[in-house]
């Protein structure tokens, strides 16, 4: 067995039963790694269930700062009898299995190539605590303590975390500290601590923060001045509106009167949630909703109205595994086409695609400006992985001099001064008309909003030429938007490289790591990260300069590739796909494997390999 010392490069997986309080202990573990200055990325792999089913929490510790999911588990905390068999099998050879030795481990769970570390978690808890509920909860803290000793983590960091976590329930602090130390003491007494796989303090996290994308979106909406939030509960987007409500409650309630500068309505379904957004935006407020794939299907009707009647709207789509109900608690990037072209007829919607919570915050704030500037729906596409898992990211920033861009809204003064108002009149030649907010002027500027065709003055018409003129103006508006979209991130662009990779959203973490793996093989690829749709001109430029481009996506049908082909007129033969769609976050090893095994790549690969051998 491999006993080489490995520092700050490991994957720890916790196999728990959901509903047993393991989440907070596991979070504390990940936070402790962060506090020790080492980059860390935790992932919750949970069932669509409230209590009793297997749930996993996976923590990757990476000195190199790789934050994507990694294959191969170094240490597994196995405290769920239901999933024990699979859990034992999931550990990589030479790895460690920490289990509750209160009961003897059955022979069927013994593998010759693993190290077994038995901690009598339940027994220790029964000896020290009286309440059965406490036995269950403290067991989690005991294994965290044992890990602290085994993995060379700083005890004070855990102690501080416990004190912070229970600052408002001080009574709970002594018990938790005691459980922590029970684990530490037992591990130190019975095992050689630390293990060869271990951690050491570093200072690699700077001023970074750790939070999840849904929270960042909710906070971004508060900063952007959203006042109306309507939603229908659906995993994995529910915590977006929860976060919005939490922050509004803290930051938007008048201290004297207790009145709220916001309104949140839990709608009867996603149709209504989107209808409320349109009603509020039409009436001059900033409004948004959050949903996942099934909700996007229902909201499509209103998204079409938003496009055609030119009403601002913001939708945060936290993608999950489709189609239909799919796997509600697993991740995927599979709503790209249904979001981009949501609704019947010729429609297109602006997409923003953040990769980090920091970008979730910024792009949510930006989305309200774009929605009002272009008077259309803006969809923020994130996924379960980004939305619900903590990510190490740059702190949120806000420019205090920033003013909201409310777009072209004609005021009572302008109307009074006799400025010509035609709701769908392209006055400025950019395809963006002026709108008025209901209640502006007693006799001027009112108009009738409708989803049926109309002329420049919002009068109903069935004249085909007038209809086509309007559709063309909408296209012109779309083209204007394309010039003002956030630019893609050109991560790497060496003119000598014939091949490139394009990725977006949460695939970015693993794609960047894969590029390093490829470089280790002397395979250099250029890279671009997409952040918005309509595609910025730089996207086509970048693709044009390469022979082949790999598009990394977490869906089956290569939806982003299809969108690039459709919108930029790129030949399909040029765009190759790296696809993973099993619901787990994509890994660098997988991307690396796909690219090096791609036939079109072999000539160059062999050339390089031969050169290496020579």
């Amino acid at each position: 067995m491999n006993q080489d010392i490995k520092i700050n490069d490991l994957v720890i997986r916790f196999a728990n039963v959901n509903g047993t309080g393991s989440a907070s202990a596991n979070n504390m573990f990940a936070k402790a790694v962060y506090r020790m200055g080492i980059p860390v990325t935790p992932k919750n792999i949970f069932p669509s269930n409230i209590q009793g089913l297997p749930t996993w929490y996976e923590v990757r510790v990476s000195e190199k700062g790789y934050l994507g999911r990694r294959e191969g588990i170094d240490l597994l905390v196995a405290v769920n009898a239901q999933s024990m068999k699979g859990d034992v099998a999931s550990v990589q050879s030479g790895g460690y299995l920490v289990y509750d030795s209160t009961k003897t481990l059955s022979d069927e769970f013994i593998r010759e190539d693993l190290h077994y570390i038995g901690i009598p978690m339940m027994q220790l808890c029964m000896e020290h605590f009286n309440d059965p509920r406490q036995h269950l909860l403290m067991k989690n803290v005991v294994y965290v303590g044992a890990l602290a000793a085994l993995l060379n983590m700083e005890v004070e960091v855990f102690e501080t975390l416990i004190r912070e976590q229970f600052a408002k329930k001080e009574k709970l602090i002594p018990g938790n500290l005691q459980a922590l130390h029970m684990g530490i003491d037992y591990a130190r007494k019975h095992f050689n601590c630390p293990l060869p796989v271990r951690m050491e303090r570093r200072d690699l996290n700077g001023n970074k923060i750790m939070t999840d994308g849904n929270n960042a979106c909710g906070l971004g909406a508060v900063y952007a001045g959203a006042t109306v939030g309507s939603w229908y509960p659906i995993t994995p987007s529910t915590s977006v509106m929860n976060a919005f409500e939490k922050w509004c409650h803290k930051l938007r309630v008048d201290k004297e009167t207790g009145k709220r500068n916001y309104a949140i309505v839990q709608a009867e379904d996603e149709l209504a949630a989107m209808g409320m957004v349109l009603g509020a935006c039409w009436n001059g407020a900033r409004a948004f909703t959050a949903t996942s794939g099934p909700g996007v299907s229902l909201m499509s009707e209103f998204l079409g109205l938003s496009y055609f009647a030119e009403i601002p709207a913001v939708l945060i789509d936290v993608q999950r595994t489709g189609p239909s109900t799919g796997m509600p608690t697993r991740t995927q990037q599979s709503d790209i086409l249904s979001a981009a072209y949501a609704s019947h007829g010729d429609t297109k919607h602006i997409l923003l695609i953040p990769s980090t919570p920091t970008e979730c915050f910024e792009m949510t704030a930006l989305s309200f400006d774009l929605a009002e500037r272009y008077q259309t729906a803006v969809i923020i596409l994130i996924d379960l992985d980004l939305g619900m898992n903590d990510h190490l990211c740059d702190p949120f920033q806000w420019d205090h001099s920033k003013r909201y861009d409310r777009g072209k809204v004609m005021s009572a003064e302008e109307l009074e001064a006799g400025k010509v108002f035609g709701r769908y009149l392209d006055v400025d030649g950019d395809g963006i008309p002026y709108r008025t907010i209901p209640g502006t002027h007693p006799t001027k500027g009112s108009f009738f909003t409708r989803g049926s065709s109309r002329d420049e003055y919002a009068r109903y018409t069935e004249d085909g030429d007038v209809y086509a003129r309007n559709m063309n103006r909408l296209l012109k508006k779309w083209e204007t938007a394309a010039t003002e979209m956030p630019e893609p991130e050109i991560v790497h662009n060496d003119p000598r490289n014939k091949f490139a990779v394009i990725y977006f959203g949460t695939s970015s973490y693993s794609a960047q790591e894969a590029l390093d793996l490829l470089t280790e093989d002397d395979l250099n690829l250029n890279a671009l990260r997409l952040v918005s749709f309509p595609f910025h001109a730089k996207v086509k430029e970048f693709i044009d300069q390469h022979e082949h481009v790999y598009i990394v996506e977490q869906n089956r049908d290569a939806q982003m590739r299809a969108l690039l082909m459709q919108e930029l007129g790129i030949e399909g033969s040029k765009l190759k796909s790296v696809l993973q769609f099993n619901g787990m976050p994509i890994t660098a090893a997988y991307i690396h494997r796909c690219i090096v095994s791609d036939k079109s790549f072999i000539p160059q690969y062999e050339e390089v390999s031969l050169a290496k051998m020579a």
Binding site: I209, A273, G279, C281, F396, G439, T449
Partner: protein, 350 residues
């Protein structure tokens, strides 16, 4: 037939308290069939708003899809309007109301738009007690798709093709009361003396006000055997009371207050005067209202007028405790917590 509406108005034309003539409340010329009940309802809306001296731009009109939902084009041309998607007007209205609590909201829908495709949203609009008037132009059929039975068509009613409707009709007033609507009325497009005061009272009501208006479809559902034809409705109408809205500033004369007239005080000190025609009907008692509805139905009669009223309404804004200032009038300094707060938030994630 000409589609030009004469623009000439007599200089001595009547103006209301705020200087507007009735013309200022009119809309584009209707394109509905000649004799359509909906046009009479549009006229009643114009009259009610004119008489109440509503600032046209302080009212927003919303609708779904169908013949009924076309009508907002034909009234209140100086008001913003929103002809949304089929059955979804309530959610659009909800958002609009949340954005600006200070406007008056008038929703117009049909029986298909409300009782079929929009039933879910209708139900929840009532549940949330949106401060709006919700008029259903109810003709028991889908006019715009040529006369199919709708969900409010009575069982046994015969449609134009001679087929008898085998399904039970949905009674929107009964449903509304059941769901907690606090102002529920039914009227007939052909009875403006009843309809206009009902619309006025509904506009005054500070919560969800439902008026189900039987509005015959002259083209597809005005035949013998239809229970939503002009003739049938006229013959079977039975009113709960004669209704009048007494504005806040008016003195209530002895004439009005005397006899069988009952006064219901509204939130702004105006009154609804009811000249009750049904002795055992109490408009503020839900059970009495429901019983009267059911009994009328058993007699094959259509109960019209005010059916139920709870003047102590708590609308959605009160429930949500939103600020007195409309949300759509807030700017950065009201809404953005600023950089200092953000730094504190960052610190909590370290």
């Amino acid at each position: 037939m000409t589609y030009a509406r004469p623009s000439f108005r007599h200089p001595q034309i009547a103006r209301n308290d705020i200087g507007f003539s009735k013309k200022d409340y009119e809309g584009a010329l209707s394109t509905l069939c000649a004799g359509c009940g909906h046009d009479s309802i549009s006229a009643a809306i114009v009259q009610a708003c004119f008489e109440m001296s509503i600032q046209p731009h302080r009212l927003a009109k919303l609708s779904g899809i169908g013949c009924s939902s076309k009508t907002p084009t034909y009234f209140l041309g100086n008001s913003h309007g929103f002809n949304s998607v089929h059955g979804r007007m309530p959610s659009v209205a909800t958002g609009a109301i949340l954005a600006n609590k200070d406007l008056i909201y008038l929703g117009v829908s049909g029986d298909g738009d409300t009782a079929s495709i929009g039933m879910g949203q209708f139900v929840h609009a009532i549940r949330r007690n949106l401060n709006m008037v919700y008029i259903v132009m109810n003709n028991g059929c889908y006019g715009l798709t040529k006369g199919q039975d709708s969900a409010t068509a009575d069982e046994g009613s015969v449609n134009k093709s001679g087929a008898e409707n085998p399904f039970q009709g949905i009674d929107l007033c009964g449903l509304g009361i059941e769901l907690g609507a606090q102002f529920v009325a039914r009227s007939f497009s052909g009875d403006k003396t009843q309809l206009i005061p009902l619309i006025k009272a509904a506009l005054k009501h500070p919560g969800f006000a439902l008026i189900d208006v039987i509005s015959p479809c002259v083209t597809f559902n005005n035949n013998a055997g239809s229970t939503k034809s002009y003739d049938y409705t006229r013959e079977h109408m039975e009113a709960t009371a004669a209704v009048d809205l007494v504005p806040m500033k008016s003195e209530i004369t002895i004439d009005q207050a005397g006899g069988t007239v009952e006064l219901i005080k509204l939130h702004d000190e105006s009154h609804i005067a009811l000249n009750k025609l049904h002795r055992d009907w109490d408009p503020m008692d839900k059970i009495s209202a429901l019983r009267n509805l059911h009994e009328a139905r058993l007699r094959d009669e259509i109960l019209t007028g005010l059916i139920y009223l709870d003047p102590n309404s708590r609308d959605l804004h009160a429930i949500l405790n939103t600020s007195d200032r409309p949300l759509n009038q807030m700017a950065e300094n009201d809404l953005c917590p600023g950089t200092e707060a953000l730094e504190k938030i960052n610190q909590s994630y370290r």
